[in-house]
Point group: C2
Chain length 260, copies 2
Protein backbone atom coordinates (compact mmCIF):
# COMPACT_ATOMS: atom_id res chain seq x y z
CA UNK A 1 0.00 0.00 0.00
CA UNK A 2 2.23 2.75 1.26
CA UNK A 3 5.64 3.43 -0.13
CA UNK A 4 7.70 3.49 3.03
CA UNK A 5 9.22 0.46 4.65
CA UNK A 6 6.94 -1.80 6.59
CA UNK A 7 7.88 -1.32 10.20
CA UNK A 8 4.71 -2.62 11.74
CA UNK A 9 2.55 -5.38 10.20
CA UNK A 10 -0.07 -2.93 8.91
CA UNK A 11 -1.83 -5.84 7.33
CA UNK A 12 -4.27 -6.10 10.18
CA UNK A 13 -6.14 -3.37 11.91
CA UNK A 14 -7.42 -3.67 15.40
CA UNK A 15 -7.05 -7.43 14.98
CA UNK A 16 -9.52 -7.62 12.12
CA UNK A 17 -7.99 -9.40 9.11
CA UNK A 18 -7.88 -7.37 5.94
CA UNK A 19 -9.84 -10.04 4.07
CA UNK A 20 -12.61 -9.71 6.62
CA UNK A 21 -12.68 -5.93 6.39
CA UNK A 22 -13.09 -6.25 2.64
CA UNK A 23 -16.20 -8.37 3.15
CA UNK A 24 -17.89 -6.27 5.81
CA UNK A 25 -19.40 -3.90 3.23
CA UNK A 26 -20.87 -6.92 1.47
CA UNK A 27 -22.55 -8.10 4.63
CA UNK A 28 -23.70 -4.61 5.35
CA UNK A 29 -25.34 -4.32 1.96
CA UNK A 30 -27.17 -7.61 2.41
CA UNK A 31 -28.24 -6.63 5.92
CA UNK A 32 -29.48 -3.25 4.77
CA UNK A 33 -31.67 -4.96 2.19
CA UNK A 34 -33.09 -7.22 4.89
CA UNK A 35 -33.61 -4.27 7.16
CA UNK A 36 -35.59 -2.48 4.48
CA UNK A 37 -37.82 -5.51 4.20
CA UNK A 38 -38.21 -5.38 7.99
CA UNK A 39 -36.73 -8.83 8.47
CA UNK A 40 -35.92 -9.01 12.20
CA UNK A 41 -33.35 -11.79 12.34
CA UNK A 42 -31.26 -13.79 9.92
CA UNK A 43 -29.16 -16.94 10.16
CA UNK A 44 -25.55 -17.11 9.05
CA UNK A 45 -26.66 -19.44 6.28
CA UNK A 46 -29.24 -17.02 4.88
CA UNK A 47 -27.08 -13.97 5.21
CA UNK A 48 -24.13 -15.73 3.65
CA UNK A 49 -26.25 -16.69 0.66
CA UNK A 50 -27.41 -13.10 0.27
CA UNK A 51 -23.86 -11.84 0.43
CA UNK A 52 -22.48 -14.50 -1.87
CA UNK A 53 -20.07 -16.16 0.56
CA UNK A 54 -20.23 -19.36 2.56
CA UNK A 55 -21.61 -19.40 6.06
CA UNK A 56 -18.47 -20.61 7.81
CA UNK A 57 -16.54 -17.69 6.46
CA UNK A 58 -19.25 -15.29 7.50
CA UNK A 59 -19.36 -16.63 11.04
CA UNK A 60 -15.60 -16.48 11.29
CA UNK A 61 -15.64 -12.92 10.03
CA UNK A 62 -18.25 -11.89 12.57
CA UNK A 63 -16.31 -13.58 15.32
CA UNK A 64 -13.60 -10.97 14.88
CA UNK A 65 -16.12 -8.25 15.65
CA UNK A 66 -17.50 -9.90 18.75
CA UNK A 67 -20.34 -12.24 19.65
CA UNK A 68 -23.26 -10.50 18.07
CA UNK A 69 -25.47 -13.50 17.31
CA UNK A 70 -27.78 -15.69 19.33
CA UNK A 71 -27.17 -19.43 19.21
CA UNK A 72 -30.08 -21.35 17.86
CA UNK A 73 -31.60 -18.15 16.47
CA UNK A 74 -29.29 -16.09 14.32
CA UNK A 75 -28.41 -12.42 14.13
CA UNK A 76 -30.56 -9.41 14.91
CA UNK A 77 -30.54 -7.49 11.64
CA UNK A 78 -30.75 -3.94 12.99
CA UNK A 79 -28.21 -4.57 15.67
CA UNK A 80 -25.75 -6.06 13.23
CA UNK A 81 -26.24 -3.22 10.75
CA UNK A 82 -25.27 -0.83 13.49
CA UNK A 83 -22.28 -2.81 14.68
CA UNK A 84 -20.83 -3.25 11.20
CA UNK A 85 -21.48 0.37 10.32
CA UNK A 86 -19.67 1.46 13.40
CA UNK A 87 -16.79 -0.89 12.76
CA UNK A 88 -16.43 0.51 9.25
CA UNK A 89 -16.63 4.04 10.51
CA UNK A 90 -19.87 4.76 8.69
CA UNK A 91 -21.66 6.25 11.66
CA UNK A 92 -19.86 9.42 10.79
CA UNK A 93 -19.99 11.48 7.66
CA UNK A 94 -17.05 11.33 5.26
CA UNK A 95 -16.66 14.25 2.91
CA UNK A 96 -14.88 13.16 -0.26
CA UNK A 97 -13.41 15.20 -3.08
CA UNK A 98 -13.32 13.98 -6.66
CA UNK A 99 -10.45 15.27 -8.76
CA UNK A 100 -10.74 15.00 -12.52
CA UNK A 101 -14.26 15.64 -13.74
CA UNK A 102 -14.27 13.81 -17.05
CA UNK A 103 -16.72 11.10 -17.97
CA UNK A 104 -15.79 8.90 -15.08
CA UNK A 105 -15.53 11.66 -12.51
CA UNK A 106 -18.94 12.95 -13.50
CA UNK A 107 -20.38 9.46 -13.36
CA UNK A 108 -19.05 9.05 -9.83
CA UNK A 109 -20.39 12.44 -8.81
CA UNK A 110 -23.79 11.27 -9.94
CA UNK A 111 -23.46 7.84 -8.40
CA UNK A 112 -26.10 7.37 -5.76
CA UNK A 113 -24.24 4.60 -3.97
CA UNK A 114 -21.95 7.07 -2.23
CA UNK A 115 -24.45 9.22 -0.49
CA UNK A 116 -26.41 6.20 0.65
CA UNK A 117 -23.53 4.99 2.79
CA UNK A 118 -22.08 7.86 4.75
CA UNK A 119 -20.07 9.43 1.96
CA UNK A 120 -20.78 12.93 0.78
CA UNK A 121 -19.31 14.41 -2.35
CA UNK A 122 -18.03 17.62 -0.84
CA UNK A 123 -16.13 18.97 -3.82
CA UNK A 124 -15.42 18.44 -7.49
CA UNK A 125 -12.08 19.62 -8.77
CA UNK A 126 -10.77 19.88 -12.31
CA UNK A 127 -7.77 21.43 -14.04
CA UNK A 128 -9.81 22.83 -16.91
CA UNK A 129 -10.59 26.50 -16.18
CA UNK A 130 -13.51 26.28 -18.60
CA UNK A 131 -15.26 23.87 -16.26
CA UNK A 132 -14.95 26.05 -13.20
CA UNK A 133 -18.36 26.98 -11.94
CA UNK A 134 -20.24 24.50 -14.11
CA UNK A 135 -22.38 22.36 -11.85
CA UNK A 136 -22.03 18.58 -12.17
CA UNK A 137 -24.57 16.58 -10.23
CA UNK A 138 -25.58 19.86 -8.64
CA UNK A 139 -22.10 20.61 -7.36
CA UNK A 140 -20.05 23.38 -8.93
CA UNK A 141 -16.69 22.30 -10.28
CA UNK A 142 -13.76 24.15 -8.75
CA UNK A 143 -10.34 24.76 -10.17
CA UNK A 144 -7.23 22.80 -9.22
CA UNK A 145 -5.49 25.97 -8.12
CA UNK A 146 -7.70 26.04 -5.07
CA UNK A 147 -7.24 22.37 -4.25
CA UNK A 148 -5.45 23.05 -1.00
CA UNK A 149 -8.05 25.39 0.35
CA UNK A 150 -10.95 23.20 -0.81
CA UNK A 151 -9.55 20.17 0.99
CA UNK A 152 -8.97 21.96 4.26
CA UNK A 153 -12.16 23.99 4.19
CA UNK A 154 -14.24 20.86 3.77
CA UNK A 155 -12.21 18.66 6.08
CA UNK A 156 -11.73 16.13 3.32
CA UNK A 157 -9.62 13.13 4.25
CA UNK A 158 -10.64 10.86 1.37
CA UNK A 159 -9.82 11.82 -2.20
CA UNK A 160 -10.91 10.17 -5.43
CA UNK A 161 -8.63 10.51 -8.44
CA UNK A 162 -10.25 10.26 -11.85
CA UNK A 163 -7.73 12.25 -13.84
CA UNK A 164 -5.82 11.02 -16.87
CA UNK A 165 -2.88 8.84 -15.81
CA UNK A 166 -0.29 11.53 -16.50
CA UNK A 167 -1.77 13.88 -13.94
CA UNK A 168 -2.52 11.34 -11.23
CA UNK A 169 0.74 11.39 -9.29
CA UNK A 170 0.86 15.16 -9.17
CA UNK A 171 -2.75 15.38 -8.02
CA UNK A 172 -2.03 12.70 -5.47
CA UNK A 173 0.93 14.64 -4.09
CA UNK A 174 -1.15 17.76 -3.78
CA UNK A 175 -3.99 15.93 -2.08
CA UNK A 176 -1.60 14.38 0.41
CA UNK A 177 0.08 17.72 1.05
CA UNK A 178 -3.35 19.19 1.73
CA UNK A 179 -4.08 16.55 4.33
CA UNK A 180 -5.81 13.71 2.51
CA UNK A 181 -4.84 10.34 3.99
CA UNK A 182 -6.95 7.93 1.91
CA UNK A 183 -7.06 7.81 -1.84
CA UNK A 184 -9.23 5.90 -4.26
CA UNK A 185 -7.36 5.86 -7.55
CA UNK A 186 -9.10 5.21 -10.86
CA UNK A 187 -6.15 6.31 -12.96
CA UNK A 188 -4.15 3.40 -14.35
CA UNK A 189 -0.95 4.39 -12.58
CA UNK A 190 0.94 3.25 -9.53
CA UNK A 191 0.85 6.06 -7.00
CA UNK A 192 3.60 6.57 -4.48
CA UNK A 193 2.48 8.00 -1.21
CA UNK A 194 4.19 8.53 2.12
CA UNK A 195 3.70 6.12 4.97
CA UNK A 196 0.36 6.45 6.65
CA UNK A 197 -1.57 7.19 3.48
CA UNK A 198 -3.80 4.43 2.14
CA UNK A 199 -4.36 3.94 -1.54
CA UNK A 200 -6.91 1.65 -3.13
CA UNK A 201 -7.11 1.33 -6.85
CA UNK A 202 -9.88 0.45 -9.22
CA UNK A 203 -8.62 -0.44 -12.64
CA UNK A 204 -11.32 -1.28 -15.10
CA UNK A 205 -9.08 -2.75 -17.73
CA UNK A 206 -7.31 -4.96 -15.19
CA UNK A 207 -10.62 -6.54 -14.29
CA UNK A 208 -11.29 -7.27 -17.92
CA UNK A 209 -7.84 -8.75 -18.35
CA UNK A 210 -8.41 -11.13 -15.48
CA UNK A 211 -11.69 -12.19 -17.07
CA UNK A 212 -9.94 -12.64 -20.40
CA UNK A 213 -7.44 -14.96 -18.77
CA UNK A 214 -10.17 -17.25 -17.51
CA UNK A 215 -12.14 -16.90 -20.69
CA UNK A 216 -9.17 -18.02 -22.74
CA UNK A 217 -8.73 -20.96 -20.47
CA UNK A 218 -12.36 -21.98 -20.93
CA UNK A 219 -11.97 -21.77 -24.70
CA UNK A 220 -8.96 -24.04 -24.45
CA UNK A 221 -10.73 -26.64 -22.32
CA UNK A 222 -13.71 -26.57 -24.63
CA UNK A 223 -11.52 -27.13 -27.64
CA UNK A 224 -9.78 -29.98 -25.87
CA UNK A 225 -13.15 -31.55 -25.16
CA UNK A 226 -14.73 -30.80 -28.54
CA UNK A 227 -11.75 -31.49 -30.70
CA UNK A 228 -12.56 -28.06 -32.12
CA UNK A 229 -9.49 -26.07 -33.05
CA UNK A 230 -8.92 -22.99 -30.94
CA UNK A 231 -9.91 -19.84 -32.86
CA UNK A 232 -6.23 -19.28 -33.60
CA UNK A 233 -6.80 -15.53 -33.95
CA UNK A 234 -4.22 -13.51 -35.81
CA UNK A 235 -1.10 -14.06 -33.77
CA UNK A 236 1.27 -11.16 -34.24
CA UNK A 237 4.85 -12.15 -34.85
CA UNK A 238 6.02 -13.35 -31.45
CA UNK A 239 9.11 -11.34 -30.49
CA UNK A 240 12.21 -13.45 -30.25
CA UNK A 241 14.71 -12.71 -27.53
CA UNK A 242 17.96 -10.98 -28.35
CA UNK A 243 19.89 -13.89 -26.90
CA UNK A 244 17.99 -17.06 -27.72
CA UNK A 245 18.58 -19.54 -24.95
CA UNK A 246 16.91 -22.65 -23.69
CA UNK A 247 13.56 -21.34 -22.55
CA UNK A 248 11.22 -23.43 -20.58
CA UNK A 249 7.92 -21.59 -20.79
CA UNK A 250 4.91 -23.90 -21.08
CA UNK A 251 4.22 -23.13 -24.70
CA UNK A 252 7.61 -21.87 -25.71
CA UNK A 253 8.15 -19.22 -28.33
CA UNK A 254 6.22 -20.85 -31.14
CA UNK A 255 2.50 -20.25 -31.28
CA UNK A 256 1.44 -23.80 -30.52
CA UNK A 257 -2.14 -24.96 -30.32
CA UNK A 258 -2.42 -26.64 -26.97
CA UNK A 259 -0.16 -27.24 -24.01
CA UNK A 260 0.00 -30.62 -22.34
Amino acid sequence: MATGRTHRPATRSRGIPEATVARLPLYLRALTALSERSVPTVSSEELAAAAGVNSAKLRKDFSYLGSYGTRGVGYDVEYLVYQISRELGLTQDWPVAIVGIGNLGAALANYGGFASRGFRVAALIDADPAMAGTPVAGIPVQHTDDLDRIISDNGVSIGVITTPPGAAQQVCDRLVAAGVTSILNFAPTVLSVPDGVDVRKVDLSIELQILAFHEQRKAGEEAAADGTAAPAADEPAPPVRATPTNRKGPEGDMPAVMPA
Copy 2:
Protein backbone atom coordinates in the same frame (compact mmCIF):
# COMPACT_ATOMS: atom_id res chain seq x y z
CA MET B 1 -17.49 -17.13 -7.93
CA ALA B 2 -19.94 -19.47 -9.56
CA THR B 3 -23.07 -20.68 -7.85
CA GLY B 4 -22.69 -24.43 -8.18
CA ARG B 5 -20.74 -26.61 -5.78
CA THR B 6 -17.01 -26.54 -5.99
CA HIS B 7 -16.03 -29.88 -7.40
CA ARG B 8 -12.61 -28.92 -8.63
CA PRO B 9 -10.38 -26.35 -6.89
CA ALA B 10 -11.19 -23.68 -9.49
CA THR B 11 -8.94 -21.39 -7.56
CA ARG B 12 -6.05 -22.08 -9.88
CA SER B 13 -5.94 -22.13 -13.60
CA ARG B 14 -3.32 -23.94 -15.55
CA GLY B 15 -1.26 -23.98 -12.38
CA ILE B 16 -1.07 -20.21 -12.14
CA PRO B 17 -2.28 -18.96 -8.75
CA GLU B 18 -5.18 -16.58 -8.84
CA ALA B 19 -3.22 -13.96 -6.93
CA THR B 20 -0.57 -14.07 -9.61
CA VAL B 21 -3.08 -13.75 -12.43
CA ALA B 22 -4.45 -10.65 -10.75
CA ARG B 23 -1.02 -9.06 -10.84
CA LEU B 24 -0.08 -9.92 -14.40
CA PRO B 25 -1.99 -6.92 -15.81
CA LEU B 26 -0.01 -4.71 -13.45
CA TYR B 27 3.29 -6.03 -14.73
CA LEU B 28 2.05 -5.74 -18.26
CA ARG B 29 1.20 -2.10 -17.79
CA ALA B 30 4.61 -1.32 -16.35
CA LEU B 31 6.31 -3.27 -19.12
CA THR B 32 4.31 -1.51 -21.80
CA ALA B 33 5.44 1.83 -20.43
CA LEU B 34 9.06 0.65 -20.55
CA SER B 35 8.56 -0.68 -24.04
CA GLU B 36 7.28 2.70 -25.19
CA ARG B 37 10.41 4.26 -23.82
CA SER B 38 12.40 1.65 -25.74
CA VAL B 39 13.97 0.24 -22.60
CA PRO B 40 15.43 -3.11 -23.68
CA THR B 41 15.78 -4.96 -20.38
CA VAL B 42 14.65 -4.53 -16.80
CA SER B 43 15.56 -6.15 -13.50
CA SER B 44 13.01 -7.64 -11.14
CA GLU B 45 13.81 -4.87 -8.71
CA GLU B 46 13.11 -2.07 -11.18
CA LEU B 47 10.02 -3.66 -12.64
CA ALA B 48 8.66 -4.43 -9.21
CA ALA B 49 9.06 -0.80 -8.21
CA ALA B 50 7.26 0.32 -11.34
CA ALA B 51 4.42 -2.10 -10.68
CA GLY B 52 4.19 -1.31 -7.00
CA VAL B 53 5.03 -4.75 -5.61
CA ASN B 54 8.17 -6.23 -4.08
CA SER B 55 10.71 -7.99 -6.21
CA ALA B 56 10.50 -11.39 -4.55
CA LYS B 57 6.81 -11.57 -5.31
CA LEU B 58 7.38 -10.54 -8.88
CA ARG B 59 10.04 -13.17 -9.45
CA LYS B 60 7.84 -15.82 -7.87
CA ASP B 61 4.97 -14.74 -10.08
CA PHE B 62 7.09 -14.94 -13.21
CA SER B 63 8.37 -18.34 -12.17
CA TYR B 64 4.85 -19.69 -12.70
CA LEU B 65 4.97 -18.58 -16.31
CA GLY B 66 8.36 -20.08 -17.04
CA SER B 67 11.97 -18.97 -16.96
CA TYR B 68 11.82 -15.83 -19.00
CA GLY B 69 14.68 -13.89 -17.43
CA THR B 70 18.43 -13.97 -17.72
CA ARG B 71 20.41 -14.35 -14.52
CA GLY B 72 22.70 -11.47 -13.83
CA VAL B 73 20.87 -9.36 -16.42
CA GLY B 74 17.12 -9.17 -16.00
CA TYR B 75 14.15 -9.53 -18.31
CA ASP B 76 13.85 -8.67 -21.98
CA VAL B 77 11.01 -6.15 -22.03
CA GLU B 78 9.51 -6.95 -25.45
CA TYR B 79 9.72 -10.65 -24.90
CA LEU B 80 8.03 -10.43 -21.52
CA VAL B 81 5.30 -8.17 -22.86
CA TYR B 82 4.50 -10.80 -25.42
CA GLN B 83 4.59 -13.71 -22.99
CA ILE B 84 2.32 -12.03 -20.46
CA SER B 85 -0.05 -10.83 -23.15
CA ARG B 86 -0.32 -14.34 -24.47
CA GLU B 87 -0.83 -15.78 -21.02
CA LEU B 88 -3.63 -13.30 -20.36
CA GLY B 89 -5.23 -14.04 -23.71
CA LEU B 90 -4.66 -10.54 -25.00
CA THR B 91 -3.14 -11.57 -28.30
CA GLN B 92 -6.70 -11.99 -29.45
CA ASP B 93 -9.49 -9.49 -29.72
CA TRP B 94 -12.28 -9.59 -27.12
CA PRO B 95 -15.55 -7.98 -28.11
CA VAL B 96 -17.41 -6.78 -25.03
CA ALA B 97 -20.97 -5.55 -24.63
CA ILE B 98 -21.95 -2.93 -22.09
CA VAL B 99 -25.48 -3.18 -20.77
CA GLY B 100 -26.97 -0.15 -19.06
CA ILE B 101 -25.92 3.10 -20.68
CA GLY B 102 -26.32 5.55 -17.85
CA ASN B 103 -23.58 7.79 -16.55
CA LEU B 104 -21.27 4.94 -15.71
CA GLY B 105 -21.98 2.88 -18.82
CA ALA B 106 -21.32 5.90 -20.99
CA ALA B 107 -18.12 6.66 -19.11
CA LEU B 108 -16.93 3.10 -19.71
CA ALA B 109 -17.86 3.27 -23.38
CA ASN B 110 -15.66 6.34 -23.64
CA TYR B 111 -12.87 4.87 -21.55
CA GLY B 112 -9.74 4.58 -23.64
CA GLY B 113 -8.16 1.92 -21.47
CA PHE B 114 -10.27 -0.81 -22.98
CA ALA B 115 -9.33 -0.47 -26.61
CA SER B 116 -5.68 -0.13 -25.73
CA ARG B 117 -5.52 -3.64 -24.37
CA GLY B 118 -7.30 -6.05 -26.71
CA PHE B 119 -10.83 -5.18 -25.70
CA ARG B 120 -13.30 -3.73 -28.15
CA VAL B 121 -16.64 -2.27 -27.18
CA ALA B 122 -18.75 -4.17 -29.67
CA ALA B 123 -22.19 -3.12 -28.47
CA LEU B 124 -24.03 -0.81 -26.12
CA ILE B 125 -27.39 -2.00 -24.83
CA ASP B 126 -30.03 -0.16 -22.84
CA ALA B 127 -33.62 -0.76 -21.80
CA ASP B 128 -34.74 2.77 -22.57
CA PRO B 129 -36.34 2.84 -26.05
CA ALA B 130 -35.64 6.57 -26.23
CA MET B 131 -31.93 5.87 -26.26
CA ALA B 132 -32.06 3.39 -29.12
CA GLY B 133 -30.05 4.73 -32.03
CA THR B 134 -28.36 7.51 -30.07
CA PRO B 135 -24.64 7.15 -30.48
CA VAL B 136 -22.53 7.06 -27.34
CA ALA B 137 -18.78 7.19 -27.90
CA GLY B 138 -19.58 6.74 -31.57
CA ILE B 139 -21.48 3.51 -31.03
CA PRO B 140 -25.26 3.44 -31.44
CA VAL B 141 -27.17 2.23 -28.39
CA GLN B 142 -29.36 -0.78 -29.09
CA HIS B 143 -32.44 -1.94 -27.26
CA THR B 144 -32.49 -4.74 -24.72
CA ASP B 145 -35.06 -6.61 -26.78
CA ASP B 146 -32.34 -7.48 -29.24
CA LEU B 147 -29.82 -8.50 -26.60
CA ASP B 148 -29.74 -12.10 -27.66
CA ARG B 149 -29.09 -11.36 -31.29
CA ILE B 150 -26.53 -8.64 -30.53
CA ILE B 151 -24.49 -10.98 -28.35
CA SER B 152 -24.41 -13.81 -30.86
CA ASP B 153 -23.91 -11.60 -33.92
CA ASN B 154 -20.86 -10.03 -32.35
CA GLY B 155 -19.49 -13.15 -30.73
CA VAL B 156 -19.48 -11.44 -27.36
CA SER B 157 -18.29 -13.61 -24.49
CA ILE B 158 -17.61 -10.83 -21.99
CA GLY B 159 -20.44 -8.65 -20.73
CA VAL B 160 -20.29 -5.54 -18.58
CA ILE B 161 -23.31 -4.74 -16.42
CA THR B 162 -23.84 -1.10 -15.50
CA THR B 163 -27.57 -1.18 -14.93
CA PRO B 164 -29.36 -0.17 -11.75
CA PRO B 165 -29.14 -2.96 -9.16
CA GLY B 166 -32.74 -4.04 -9.65
CA ALA B 167 -32.18 -4.96 -13.28
CA ALA B 168 -28.78 -6.58 -12.90
CA GLN B 169 -29.77 -10.19 -12.21
CA GLN B 170 -32.25 -10.25 -15.07
CA VAL B 171 -29.73 -8.76 -17.48
CA CYS B 172 -27.16 -11.23 -16.22
CA ASP B 173 -29.49 -14.16 -16.88
CA ARG B 174 -30.16 -12.96 -20.39
CA LEU B 175 -26.47 -12.43 -21.10
CA VAL B 176 -25.66 -15.91 -19.89
CA ALA B 177 -28.50 -17.41 -21.88
CA ALA B 178 -27.14 -15.64 -24.95
CA GLY B 179 -23.74 -17.21 -24.45
CA VAL B 180 -21.76 -14.77 -22.31
CA THR B 181 -19.41 -16.61 -19.96
CA SER B 182 -17.62 -13.73 -18.23
CA ILE B 183 -19.28 -10.82 -16.53
CA LEU B 184 -17.93 -7.63 -15.06
CA ASN B 185 -20.57 -6.36 -12.68
CA PHE B 186 -20.74 -2.74 -11.57
CA ALA B 187 -24.20 -3.04 -10.06
CA PRO B 188 -24.15 -3.35 -6.28
CA THR B 189 -25.81 -6.76 -6.27
CA VAL B 190 -24.72 -10.34 -5.83
CA LEU B 191 -25.27 -12.12 -9.12
CA SER B 192 -26.00 -15.81 -9.29
CA VAL B 193 -24.71 -17.52 -12.35
CA PRO B 194 -24.44 -21.15 -13.41
CA ASP B 195 -21.20 -23.04 -13.06
CA GLY B 196 -18.65 -22.13 -15.68
CA VAL B 197 -19.53 -18.46 -15.76
CA ASP B 198 -17.06 -16.06 -14.15
CA VAL B 199 -18.21 -12.92 -12.41
CA ARG B 200 -15.98 -10.13 -11.22
CA LYS B 201 -17.43 -7.18 -9.44
CA VAL B 202 -16.40 -3.60 -9.06
CA ASP B 203 -18.19 -1.82 -6.26
CA LEU B 204 -17.27 1.78 -5.86
CA SER B 205 -18.87 2.27 -2.52
CA ILE B 206 -17.24 -0.86 -1.10
CA GLU B 207 -13.83 0.55 -1.91
CA LEU B 208 -14.70 3.74 -0.08
CA GLN B 209 -15.98 1.80 2.90
CA ILE B 210 -12.70 -0.07 3.16
CA LEU B 211 -10.85 3.23 3.08
CA ALA B 212 -13.17 4.62 5.71
CA PHE B 213 -12.35 1.71 7.98
CA HIS B 214 -8.66 2.45 7.83
CA GLU B 215 -9.25 6.16 8.00
CA GLN B 216 -11.25 5.76 11.17
CA ARG B 217 -8.47 3.70 12.62
CA LYS B 218 -5.93 6.39 11.86
CA ALA B 219 -8.09 9.00 13.53
CA GLY B 220 -8.24 6.79 16.60
CA GLU B 221 -4.49 6.30 16.78
CA GLU B 222 -3.92 9.99 16.29
CA ALA B 223 -6.30 10.84 19.08
CA ALA B 224 -4.58 8.33 21.32
CA ALA B 225 -1.27 10.00 20.59
CA ASP B 226 -2.51 13.58 20.71
CA GLY B 227 -4.86 13.23 23.58
CA THR B 228 -7.26 14.96 21.20
CA ALA B 229 -10.85 13.78 21.53
CA ALA B 230 -12.18 11.92 18.50
CA PRO B 231 -14.56 14.14 16.50
CA ALA B 232 -17.45 12.33 18.13
CA ALA B 233 -19.76 13.03 15.16
CA ASP B 234 -23.49 12.77 15.71
CA GLU B 235 -23.96 9.20 16.75
CA PRO B 236 -27.44 8.03 15.92
CA ALA B 237 -29.17 6.19 18.71
CA PRO B 238 -27.45 2.81 18.72
CA PRO B 239 -30.10 0.13 18.31
CA VAL B 240 -30.40 -2.10 21.33
CA ARG B 241 -31.07 -5.75 20.83
CA ALA B 242 -34.49 -7.18 21.52
CA THR B 243 -32.99 -9.55 24.05
CA PRO B 244 -30.20 -7.72 25.81
CA THR B 245 -27.60 -10.28 26.79
CA ASN B 246 -23.99 -10.16 27.77
CA ARG B 247 -22.34 -8.93 24.62
CA LYS B 248 -18.64 -8.98 24.22
CA GLY B 249 -18.04 -6.67 21.30
CA PRO B 250 -14.90 -4.59 21.71
CA GLU B 251 -16.74 -1.36 22.34
CA GLY B 252 -20.05 -2.70 23.46
CA ASP B 253 -23.33 -0.94 22.83
CA MET B 254 -22.39 2.39 24.27
CA PRO B 255 -20.72 4.90 22.01
CA ALA B 256 -17.41 4.98 23.82
CA VAL B 257 -14.52 7.16 22.84
CA MET B 258 -11.61 4.82 22.53
CA PRO B 259 -11.01 1.10 22.56
CA ALA B 260 -7.99 -0.36 24.30
